[in-house]
């Protein structure tokens, strides 16, 4: 444990009134891992993601990215540090073209979005990069379509493309396969695997077969606390987890 973890939370807590949504969570993600956070509905997964990505401010505790304290940073500042996020509900720009969805993110990363006077098409480098990212998420052939023409799975891929365009060192994926058909799910899993080859990824997922097949490590959230952490095998055999969660799954 000599290297600093990419992401670390220390006693991270969020309460809504009397409800403790996230309760003193200590969580670490080492460099390069594909890490799953699971737990039954209402366990606090999304709140946990919101705390890390700056959408919510924690009640107490801290969030550290590559050793740096980013607690309470607004979302755009967290992104600038190198944390990308995708959402459970598809979160794209519907009336922009597929290309523009990604291009905007590339331009944002490169700090060119305050350019008010040169046409967006003149930024050819950014355009090339956006196109190559679209290729990665298998949307290269639809770059010039309106996003309204995309299917559900394609929209999720586009959203992933937007997140990738930010070149984050850590990616948070909230339910990447939610609402997908079986074929779409398997292609998205391949995509997640590909991404995680050179990036650190934390994801939540309701589909247990996905979680156990691709995650390096799994953390189990239950009622706002982490009740178990370990490799898929360790989690599978953890009595507490079986009781709290997998009891009805397996």
């Amino acid at each position: 444990m000599a290297t600093t973890p990419v992401l670390e939370t220390k006693a991270l807590t969020k309460s809504f009134g009397s409800l403790l949504a996230v309760n003193e969570v200590d969580f670490q993600v080492p460099v390069g891992e594909l890490c799953a956070v699971i737990g039954p509905n209402g366990a606090g997964k999304t709140t946990f993601f919101n705390l890390i990505s700056g959408r919510l401010e924690p009640t107490s505790g801290g969030v550290f990215f590559e050793g740096e304290d980013i607690t309470g940073y607004p979302p755009h500042a967290v992104v600038k540090k190198g944390v990308g996020r995708s959402f459970q509900i598809t979160n794209i720009f519907p009336r922009l073209s597929v290309l523009d969805n990604v291009r905007i993110a590339v331009l944002a990363r490169r700090g060119k979005t305050l350019d008010m006077f040169s046409p967006i098409e003149k930024h050819t480098e950014e355009q090339e990069e956006a196109l190559s990212i679209l290729g990665e998420v298998e949307l290269g052939h639809k770059a010039h379509h309106p996003t309204t023409k995309l299917g559900h799975g394609e929209r999720r891929n586009l959203e992933l493309g937007i997140t990738l365009a930010l070149e984050p060192r850590l990616i948070l994926l909230d339910e990447p396969t939610a609402g997908m058909s079986i074929e779409e799910t398997s292609s998205t899993i391949e995509l997640v695997k590909k991404i995680s080859a050179d990036k650190t990824v934390v994801f939540t997922e309701h589909d247990m077969s996905v979680v156990f097949s691709i995650a390096d490590r799994i953390s189990v959230l239950h009622q706002g606390s982490i009740i178990a952490e370990g490799t898929p095998d360790e989690i599978r055999n953890d009595d507490l987890v079986r009781l709290a969660y997998l009891g009805e799954e397996v």
Binding site: S53, P74, P75, H76, A77, V79, K80, R85, F87, N91, I92, F93, P94, R95, L96, D100, R103, I104, A105, L107, A108, R109, K112, T113, L114, D115, M116, F117, S118, P119, I120, H123, H144, P146, T148, K149, I162, A165, L166
Partner: protein, 341 residues
Amino acid sequence: MESTSGKKLLSRLMERIPNRFGVTVLLALAVLAPFLVQNDYYIQLCTEILIASLLAISLNFLIGFTGLVSLGHAVYLGVGAYAFALLTKNVYPSMWAGLIAAGASCALLAWFMGVFCVRLAGLYFAMLTLAFSQVVYTVAYYWRDVTGGDDGMLGIPKPEIGIPGAFSISLESFTNFYYFVLIIVTALIFLAWKIANSPFGRVLQAIRENPERVEFIGLPVHRYKLYAFIIAGTLGGFAGGLYSTFQGYISPDLLYWTQSGEIVLMTILGGMYSFLGPAFGAGMLLFIRDTVLNFMEYWRIVVGGILVLLVLFLPGGILGFFEEWASRLSIGGNDGDDTRS
């Protein structure tokens, strides 16, 4: 599938040609207008349409681009107009100084109001802009010493332009003034068009579509909204300055909320998702008003009726509808179908 690339090429051609072509025709018409109408009254109407076009396009930076419905845009028309009048009447009668005063005062005002407004969205944003503009209206209405109160200000000059000692052009003739306004408005609309098609402009559209996601691609949404607010206000201020010298008379009515409503109306009439739509709407509104006023004074019934029908049946606006229709023709499929939803 083989025809896809051909189709794409065709559709891109069709996208570009009508735009270039349309803009060229429009400009040619605008330049020739004084010769075509041959009538001082209509030259003045054309001048007013130009100014209203700038005003509507400036508002569309907020409505169509950033997705912020402002109900207080008349504040810039009014403040720009008063700034021009106060400067040229009381300080120094210069057209350029007056216009710069109009733009600069509105930039400052927009900056100040924007700091508060951009933190809100939706109805709350609309209400706050409305409230701010009504404050300014109240001040203009009661601060008689400076603004002349509800009597307004009379005798606003049309200072001549040129280089002192070298040459000068009088703007007292309707035609000269028309061309002066045409040049200023075209330049500013061109500037607005540049901004709209820049990376910055695309970010504004992204904010309209999904502000939260913009925050999550690492951009501070409030700041971008503020910039849009200031751009809209400044351009609106120039329109106000031009209006002031054009009419030669201004009153607090310019700041009243119904005036703001009219600017929104122009924007929607033409189509808020098309760049020149608001200008088209401005032309239509003023033309309809003028035409109806020849028959009866109740032009608002006609315009209100059109607005109701438009909202119900053509929410994309009139120019927006034609553009969509053209793009559907060019793509040859049903690509345009869901863009309206």
